[in-house]
């Protein structure tokens, strides 16, 4: 391998702080190019932070990092080198999209890097085959096991040929076989792309042994650098693990001693803690767990090993009662596992594979909450929390939030929570994945103590062979079945292999037969001359690759794995396969190499934009319910409001306190009750009743006709009729007032005409009212065109409002940080599918208005459609803007309600014209898009208008788009802060 003299990464005096904690302390380091560089160190010493800074995912606070010959803080350099860097973040599939399938996830990344279809297909096929994910290509990423997610994450990172590959604990939670495959894949890539630099952080020391150069870190500083053998020599130790421990400062390794687990003393008559019989779990046609039977005695440490996705976690979940088994029984302490059995749960401590504690609570609050929920004695809680915190070395981070902690420390917290109530049984699903070696030993010390001293039963799954060796018994699981259960040493012996790892792999290979999941082949495919730079375009490499069967990688993949103690290499593989298919040769590899000439990355690329559109649309398609709610919800609401909202105030309840009781007074009341506005209620008898009935809201109007009403009227004495109006709802009261006055006038006129002969009847003139646009003054024609703008704001905004914040909350926003996609491409790409849905909604609603409600559309429909496109773009843009502003999905939902609900119902002219509004409401009304679209909607629906009359309302809608999108782009961050 050629290694350039100039380092690939130059770190100069870099410091990084999170609040008060110093994550990186004035760190300087040159990382040689063209090498596999390992970053090792305990949890939380700044490895991940350093990697995030190198890839530009995180904002640099202090110092300078040069990557691939330029300052990474320089935006244009970052943009230029972005496609040459691949970054796989820590965490099980953090940057994946759970609803998308395996294939679609990788495909999405391929599109982001602008790969043409054929090249992409070929690369994906290759990657999936070599990671063993091929059989699962259509499974949603969310349904993969932790290890499989990890593999998928790697595929996504490797879809383009990077010059610098940054992997943050890539093999955490990956089974030994897959780990071997994984490193073969990396080796293979390095062959194909000579000079590729790889920077990896890992907790596996046997992996670190394979690296060319190591950087040992502690406390944000560099402890030592050098090749693995140099480090071993320097510390005069046999293994890297020992070397690493000896490199640590005195106080950190003081407590560390070689771990010895005392043998189990009592066996035979012990109580059975876990008993599973033919435990089976099926998800559809997929059998995740197939007739698993287990008997674990009290006080036993029982290890559970198996390939990723073989059903270990599912089995554990059935034992905890989280999943009811499809068939078979599970018993804990002789009692059938039942979700309702709280007493048993009190005795069990469970730690799930993915972090499942409260990210919003501090470490201390999490510990205390669990202590309280398990009802530890009040007085003992503080003591116990301190005790556990010390045991798991959490004391320094007690007030930190879990999200701010590295994976290893989060795992410790989960463990601490699992044991806080001193359970009799611990079910631990890969508890030590991602935890550094020293902490792992400490943890095992604790397990040993619990098991031996307190007779706690421990059921643990792990991918660390040295941990498996510490168990009293282990089970090997594959494809839902238990292959073998025995004492570790016995299993090794039976298999005839030298180590447990080899035995494990042998078992798996035997079980899967000629399964294509396991790549066969032997090493020795070192082509040192592949690094001739060629200027071939990616297209030509595609053609070259097309000629080659995609199984080339399978046939010459290298499978080297080392025993936990380091040293001897175990070669696995099937030589027969090798003879059959030729290894990939120089010609192919050099053809597919485009080293030194990274493809030009344009500032703006429609391809990248559409890749986000596609992704968003796929997610929508995976969640058909969401689309259905959006469409049917629209219809439902349209019906509800079309028929439900009545603008004419009528059917008002009134009653009369008639203290005259003559035919004349009766006539007055009848006149009122005869109109469609008022409905007469039983008469009122006295003032007290009047007060009560008004207070209850039963009556909107109460009339009091005074005693001697008819007589006084006859005599020409002034008479007063009292009208009490319920003012609680001013709109209604005003209407009542208006109606009652008009009716009073009418009654007067009528009576005057009847009785007065000499006098000229009233009425100086007549007012002829023409109700325009809606001559029958019906609610429907007024309301329906107004409901369309309202719903077309609320629903599209709500649809798009979660799209960005969701990525923030679930972690996949990282893809924006580390891929060449620009903020504009990201936002607009996401917006397009929602605009499409919005338009479907629009057509649906306008059809409903015309054909179902019978509200004719009189104006220019084409114009209305054009306005609707602009308006829906506004609405979805507002949703996206909210999404970029908020940090949690709950806040985004609530903000969307606040921003769209009231303004579109109250401030946009639906009920009251904007001209009548006051103050802030007026201002919001004038600038809110719904106002302008409402004018257009009413104009074309009821007033038969078109472009000429309504263009002044179209302009604001068009102008708002660049403003909203521009604001979103401004507020969106392309780096983690």
């Amino acid at each position: 391998m050629s290694s350039d003299d100039t380092p690939v990464i130059r770190i100069q005096a870099v410091s990084l702080r999170y609040g008060n904690t110093l994550a990186l302390a004035d760190l300087s380091l040159d990382i040689p190019s063209g090498q596999r560089v390992g970053l090792i160190g305990p949890d939380g010493v700044g490895k991940s932070s350093l990697m995030a800074l190198i890839t530009g995912a995180r904002v640099m606070q202090q110092g300078r990092i040069e990557v691939l010959g330029g300052d990474i803080t320089d935006v244009s350099h970052r943009h230029a080198v972005c496609p040459r860097i691949a970054y796989m973040p820590q965490g099980l599939g953090k940057n994946l999209y759970n609803t998308l399938s395996v294939f679609e996830n990788v495909d999405f990344f391929g599109r982001l890097f602008g790969q043409p279809e054929a090249e992409r297909q070929q690369r994906i096929a290759e990657l999936l085959a070599s990671t063993g994910l091929e059989p699962f290509r259509d499974r949603p990423a969310g349904k993969l096991s932790g290890g499989m997610k990890q593999k998928l994450g790697l595929c996504c990172a490797l879809i383009h040929d990077p010059d610098l590959l940054v992997l943050d604990e890539p093999t955490t939670g990956v089974d030994p076989l897959s780990r071997a495959q994984f490193w073969d894949l990396i080796d293979h890539l390095r062959e194909r792309r000579a000079g590729m630099s790889v920077l990896v952080s890992t907790a596996y020391m046997d992996e670190a042994e394979r690296f060319d150069w190591l950087v040992a870190m502690d406390d944000g500083k560099i402890l030592a650098t050098g090749t693995p053998s140099e480090l071993r020599e320097r510390s005069q130790t046999e293994t890297l693990e020992a070397a690493f421990i000896s490199l640590l400062p005195e106080e950190k390794r003081r407590d560390h001693k070689a771990l010895v687990i005392p043998p189990r003393s009592s066996t035979g008559t012990a109580e059975i803690a876990i008993e599973a019989e033919n435990l089976t779990m099926r998800f559809g046609d997929f059998t995740a767990v197939d007739k698993v039977s287990l008997r674990i005695e009290r006080g036993e440490i029982f290890g559970f090993l198996g390939s990723n996705g073989c059903g270990k976690s599912t089995t554990m979940k059935m034992l905890t009662g989280l999943l009811p088994p499809t068939a078979g029984t599970a018993k804990l302490f002789g009692q059938i596992v039942d979700a309702g059995n709280l007493a048993t749960r009190q005795r069990v401590g469970y730690m799930s594979q993915a972090f499942s504690l409260y990210a919003e609570l501090t470490v201390r609050q999490n510990l205390e909450l669990h202590a309280k929920l398990f009802h530890l004695p009040e007085a003992g809680i503080a003591v116990r929390v301190t005790e556990v915190a010390e045991r798991f070395q959490l004391s320094a981070v007690m007030d930190a939030l879990p999200d701010a902690l590295p994976l290893g420390i989060r795992q410790r917290l989960s463990l601490a929570v699992a044991v806080i109530h001193q359970p009799d049984l611990l079910i631990l699903d890969e508890p030590t994945s991602g935890v550094d070696p020293i902490a792992r030993d400490r943890f095992w010390e604790l397990l040993a103590e619990l098991a031996r001293r307190d007779q706690v039963t421990i059921f643990i799954s792990t991918h660390f062979m040295n941990e498996a060796e510490r168990c009293d018994r282990i089970s090997l699981m594959h494809a839902g079945k238990v292959l073998a259960s025995d004492v570790p040493a016995a299993l090794v012996k039976q298999s005839g292999e030298a180590t447990l790892e080899a035995a494990f792999i042998a078992y798996l290979k035997k079980a899967s037969g000629a399964d294509s999941v396991i790549p066969a082949g032997t090493p020795e495919s070192s082509h040192t001359d592949v690094n001739q730079p060629t200027a071939d375009s990616p297209q030509s490499s595609t053609h070259a690759n097309d000629k080659l069967p995609s199984m080339a990688l399978d046939s010459c993949g290298t499978s080297v794995s080392r025993t936990p103690t380091g040293g001897e290499a175990v070669q696995i593989g099937n030589p027969a396969d090798l003879s059959g298919i030729p290894c990939r040769n120089d010609e192919h590899t050099s053809n597919s190499t485009v080293l030194g000439l990274p493809p030009h990355t344009p500032r703006f690329s429609l391809l990248r934009l559409f890749s986000y559109t596609r992704r968003e649309a796929l997610e929508l398609r995976r969640d058909p319910l969401r689309g259905l709610i959006a469409l049917f919800g629209t219809l439902l609401l349209m019906f509800t409001f079309g028929y439900g909202i009545s603008m004419d105030v009528e059917n008002l309840h009134f009653a009369v306190l008639d203290r005259d009781q003559t035919s004349l007074s009766n006539n007055y009341a009848l006149d009122l009750g005869g109109s469609r506005y008022f409905i007469a209620q039983p008469p009122i008898n006295d003032y007290e009743e009047l007060d009560r009935r008004m207070r209850s809201g039963e009556l909107s109007l109460a009339l009091e006709i005074p005693p001697n009403f008819a007589r006084d009227l006859e005599r020409g004495n002034p008479v007063k009729i009292g009208a009490w109006i319920d003012g609680a709802m001013p709109t209604r009261a005003e209407n009542v007032l208006g109606y009652v006055q008009a009716m009073h006038q009418g009654w007067l006129l009528e009576n005057a005409r009847q009785r007065a002969t000499s006098r000229i009847p009233g009425g100086l003139m007549s007012i002829e009212t023409r109700f325009r646009y809606n001559p029958d003054v019906k609610s429907l024609p007024a309301i329906v065109p107004a409901v369309i703008p309202m719903l077309l704001m609320l629903i599209p905004a709500m649809l798009s409002a979660l799209s960005v914040v969701r990525e923030k909350e679930l972690g996949s926003i990282l893809n924006l940080y580390v891929t060449p996609v620009s903020k504009l491409e990201f936002l607009v790409g996401k917006q397009l599918p929602y605009i499409a849905i919005g338009m479907v909604n629009f057509f649906l609603m306008s059809a409903l208005a015309v054909f179902v409600f019978g509200v004719p559309h009189k104006g220019n429909y084409l114009f209305l459609t054009l306005a609707a496109v602009l308006y829906v773009t506004n609405a979805t843009g507002i949703g996206l803007l909210i999404s970029t502003l908020t940090r949690s999905q709950i806040a985004a939902i609530f903000a969307t309600f606040l921003v769209t609900f009231i303004p579109s119902i109250r401030f946009s002219g639906m009920l009251d014209p904007v001209a009548s509004l006051e103050g802030g409401a007026r201002l919001i009304g004038e600038s809110f898009p719904a106002t302008h679209f409402l004018t257009i909607c009413r104009g074309t629906f009821s007033k038969a208008l078109g472009f000429a009359e309504l263009q002044s309302s179209l302009l604001p809608l068009a102008l708002a788009i660049p403003v909203i999108v521009g604001l979103s782009v401004l507020l969106l961050k392309k780096q983690e802060q």
Partner: protein, 375 residues
């Protein structure tokens, strides 16, 4: 029993702590109960407020001038006196809700008792102003005409006066009404969003799985969410009532605040249960957002807080009897504006209790049956 209560308490405290971390959410909550209430209360006017009117004066007589000058704030904007041809354009563009056309020789014809006709054009798509404005304009024009004519000849009238007294809100101030109704809206919205979304959040982050392996029952988990979120809402709602509604907006509250709080608690019991129910139905946060939108919109718009209930179609009225907001709005109006006591509002209390219990039972049943699939 003691354990159950303690669990409910601890889990509720956890909910409160979680909420406290979300600064943005807290800001939004405060805004919903302060800024939004203020904006809506002061911004949305009485139904006939600053109604835009134009007058085509083809008479140009003292009487027509008198009529033009009779329209003034707050009911009407000062009228634009326009030419006849401008009338249609102005109405088309939505500039005027009303255009009054005074014909030539109007004054002469009135005085001569020839009963001339004035034409009033009303934009009937603006239903809220159309009716009420029409009757106001009729009264105003008639009034001006008879006052003008009074000096010239006798006008017939009967000596019956209608003395109107508006109870509970004598000036028909829309601030009184709008502010309180907005607080009610925010109460409903917040309580449903908080509980429903919090449940989905637990599910999406996998934390529900953790609760399920602990000695906790779905009942405890659910009740914890109900009490904690209800507490948050009660506190902000009361702060809003005291500082914004009574303080800043100077709205007098007639009835007993504690009775109102009791009613609010019953309402929250129902809405938080609804939120949890929705949380068990939706499978992801985006679904939840839409679902809440579709539920909340009718709850808010048809509750009687926006348009009078009695004017709605019978079907809508009856369906909305199942919605807690209908009863909450009714009892809030009765207590806060009309000073009603328990003797008056007990049917609403009972209805809320019933609706709440049904939703709680539904939510609990669904929570129990779906909780295992949530992990």
């Amino acid at each position: 029993m003691r354990h159950t209560l303690l669990n409910i308490f601890y889990l509720g405290v956890k909910e409160l702590r979680s909420l406290r971390r979300d600064t943005m959410m807290l800001v939004l909550i405060v805004f919903a109960f302060s800024g939004q209430v203020y904006l809506t209360a002061t911004g949305v006017p009485e139904s006939l407020h600053k109604a835009p009117i134009a007058i085509v004066d083809e008479d140009r007589s003292p009487l027509s001038e008198r009529i033009v000058n009779a329209f003034f704030l707050p009911h009407f904007l000062a009228p634009d006196v326009i030419e006849p041809y401008a009338s249609d354009a102005g109405m088309d563009a939505g500039r005027y809700t009303f255009v009054l056309d005074i014909p030539p020789n109007f004054q002469r014809n009135v005085l001569a008792g020839r009963k001339p006709t004035i034409q009033l054009n009303v934009d009937a798509t603006r239903m809220s102003q159309a009716f009420i404005g029409n009757s106001y304009i009729q009264t105003i024009v008639n009034g001006e005409a008879s006052a003008f004519v009074q000096g010239h000849r006798a006008v017939a009238s009967l000596p019956v006066e209608l003395e109107t007294r508006v109870l509970f809100n004598p000036n028909l101030s829309s601030v009184w009404f709008g502010s309180v109704m907005e607080v009610l809206n925010s109460i409903t919205m917040l309580s449903i969003v908080l509980t429903g979304a919090a449940l989905i959040r637990e599910r999406e982050h996998g934390t529900i799985e953790h609760l399920l392996v602990m000695p906790l029952t779905p009942f405890e988990i659910m009740l914890a969410k109900v009490w904690s979120m209800a507490l948050v809402v009660v506190i902000v709602a009361m702060a809003s009532m005291v500082f914004i509604v009574q303080g800043l907006l100077d709205v007098p509250i007639q009835g007993s605040m504690s009775l109102f709080i009791a009613g609010m608690l019953l309402h929250l019991f129902a809405t938080t249960s609804m939120g949890i129910f929705l949380g068990t139905v939706a499978r992801s946060m985006p679904q939840m957002g839409l679902l809440m939108l579709i539920i909340l919109l009718p709850l808010q718009m048809l509750s009687g807080g926006l348009t009078p209930r009695e004017s709605m179609p019978a079907l809508a009225q009856n369906l909305m009897l199942a919605a807690p907001t209908t009863h909450f709005v009714a009892l809030a109006q009765a207590i806060l504006y009309r000073g009603a006591g328990l003797g008056v509002v007990w049917p609403q209390f009972l209805a809320l209790l019933g609706i709440g219990s049904v939703f709680f039972a539904l939510a609990l049943a669904r929570f129990r049956s779906t909780i295992s699939s949530m992990a």
